[in-house]
Symmetry: C2
Subunit: 291 residues, 2 copies
C-alpha cells in the first residue's frame, strides 16, 4: 500500500480532535501543509506556535481553496453554517469529513446544503475524547486503538472513503463503516441513553429535600455512575436534538425495563430479579475482560 | 479521652471488612485478643497465619463467650442464624455490631431474635469496600477518611454506642448516627437505585438483537456507568430484598423523572432539558470538587 499522504489538510475547528489529528499526521510526515481556521484567536495562535498547523486562514472559503481534505471539527450547532461557507469555495473536489457524535443530522445537512459535493463527503465519528478541550489538549496518541466509524452517503466516492479511512488508520484507529442510521441507533444505546440516565439520576437526587445528606453519603458507586453527568450539558442537549428519535425509543424501552424491575421488586420475585442482575453482571464482566 | 481498648474482639466472618478492622486495631494496640470464626477453613487459616486474628473459634457460641465486642461481618443472608447462635452464649453483655449495607432489616432481626440484648446492639454500616474479598484483601487503611453510619436502637445503651463509635474512629473513619429508616432511605437513593439502574441498562443492551455490536462500540462513558453492574448480583438481590420499600419508591420516582425527560424530548423542549442536564452537571461537579 502506498503511504498515506495529503498535500493540504484544512481543519475547521482546531480543538482537541482537530489538533490531535494534525499533530499525528505531522509526526507521520503524512501531510504537506495544515491550514487551520477557528473562532478563538488565542487558541489559533497557540495551534500555530505549537506547530499543530502551518497557517491560520482568515475565513473558511479561503481555507478550503487549496485543501485536499477538509476536517470539520466544530460543535454540531456550527456545522450547517460551516457547510454553507464551504459551498462558497471554488474547490469542488476537496474531500469533506466531520467528527460529530451523531451522523444522521450531518448527512441531512450535507444533502440539504451541499448535495452537489456529496460524492466527496465522508461523515465520520472518532470514539475518543477527553475531559480536556482546545488545541492545548492535542495528543498524537489520542486515537490509538480507538474506534472510528465512517458512514458514507450513497453518493460518496470510494476514493474519498479510502482517503478518510487511511487518515484515521494513520492516527492508529480501528475504522468501521456502517449506515448513518445504524450508527445513530448504536450510539443512542451505548452512549446517549447512559448520559440521559446519569443526568436524570443526579438531577433527581439534587431535587430532593434531603439532597445535601444524599451527596454527603454518596461514595464510589455514585462516583463512577455519575461521572458522565459532569459532561457539557449544552453538548448533550445538542446530541439529544440531533439523535432525537433513537434516544426517545431507548428512553421508552428503558422505562419499560425499569417497570418490569419495579413489579418484580413489588411482588418479591427475587428469582427473576437475580436472572436480570446476573445476566447484566456476566455481560459487563465479559465486556470488561476484553478491553 | 482515654485510649480505645477492647480486651477481646470477636469477628464473625473474617473477610475484607472484618480482616481490615482486625489489622487496624492490632496496629493501634487497641485490642487484647482477636477471635475469629468463619465458614472457610482456608480463609480462617490465612487470617491466623497473617496475624489478623489470634485464635480460631470452632463455633459462634464459644467465640462470643469472652468477647467485649462482637463484629458480625457475614453476608446478610447468614445474619439471622448468627444472631440465633449469639443468643445461645452466656455472655449477655458483649456489645454486638454489624457491617451490613441495610439497617432496617438488621434492626428487625435483632428485635425478633435477641430483643433481650438490644441494649448492647449497635447496627453499623461502613461505607467502604473494594472489588477484592476475603481476609487476604484486608487493609488497615480501608476505612481511613470513609463514612461509617451507626443506627442505634431506642434501647441501645450510650456506652455501647460510644464503644462502637470509637472502634471506627480508631480505624480512621468519620462516624455519623441516624435512624435505620433514614439510613435506608439515603442509601436507597445514592447506592441501591444506581445499582438497579446500571444492572437494568446493561441487561437491556444484552437482550437486544444487536447486542454484540453495542458492546463492540461501548467506550469510556459506558465503562464508568456500568462498572457497578459488575458487582455480585446475589448480594444486590439481597439488598433489594432487605430495603425493598425504599428501593421501590426510588425506582418509581426515577421512572417518573425519565417520563418527564421523554416528554421533553418528544416535544422538542430543549430549554427545559438544558435546565435538567445543567442542574445535574453543576451538582455533580460541585460534589466531585469536594471529594
Amino acid at each position: 500500500m502506498e503511504k498515506f499522504y495529503l498535500e493540504q489538510l484544512t481543519i475547521i475547528g482546531v480543538g482537541l480532535i482537530g489538533g490531535s489529528v494534525a499533530t499525528r499526521l505531522k509526526r507521520n510526515s503524512s501531510v504537506g501543509k495544515v491550514v487551520g481556521v477557528g473562532r478563538s484567536h488565542k487558541n489559533m495562535a497557540y495551534a500555530l506556535e505549537a506547530g499543530l498547523i502551518d497557517e491560520i486562514a482568515t475565513d473558511i472559503r479561503s481555507a478550503v481553496a487549496n485543501a485536499s481534505m477538509v476536517l470539520v471539527a466544530v460543535p454540531v450547532k456550527q456545522v450547517e453554517s460551516v457547510l454553507h461557507e464551504i459551498k462558497l469555495s471554488t474547490n469542488a473536489h476537496a474531500i469533506i469529513t466531520d467528527v460529530g457524535s451523531t451522523k444522521g443530522d450531518f448527512t441531512r445537512m450535507v444533502e440539504k446544503v451541499i448535495p452537489e459535493r456529496a460524492g466527496f463527503v465522508v461523515p465520520g465519528h472518532p470514539i475518543a475524547g477527553s475531559e480536556k478541550a482546545g488545541a492545548q489538549a492535542a495528543d498524537e496518541n489520542l486515537f490509538v486503538g480507538k474506534n472510528v466509524v465512517l458512514c458514507p452517503l450513497s453518493q460518496t466516492r470510494a476514493s474519498a472513503l479510502s482517503a478518510v479511512r487511511e487518515l484515521w488508520q494513520s492516527c492508529g484507529a480501528h475504522v468501521s463503516t456502517m449506515s448513518e442510521d445504524k450508527h445513530d441507533k448504536i450510539f443512542s444505546a451505548v452512549s446517549h441513553l447512559p448520559h440521559v440516565v446519569s443526568y436524570a439520576l443526579v438531577e433527581m437526587m439534587n431535587r430532593r429535600t434531603d439532597s445535601e445528606e444524599l451527596f454527603d453519603f454518596a461514595a464510589g458507586g455514585f462516583r463512577d455512575f455519575s461521572r458522565i453527568a459532569g459532561s457539557s450539558s449544552e453538548m448533550w442537549v445538542d446530541i439529544c436534538r440531533a439523535n432525537n428519535e433513537h434516544i426517545v425509543d431507548d428512553v421508552e424501552s428503558f422505562i419499560a425495563s425499569l417497570e418490569t424491575i419495579r413489579e418484580l421488586l413489588k411482588s418479591g420475585n427475587y428469582g427473576a430479579l437475580q436472572r436480570i442482575f446476573g445476566a447484566a453482571a456476566a455481560a459487563r464482566n465479559n465486556w470488561a475482560s476484553k478491553q
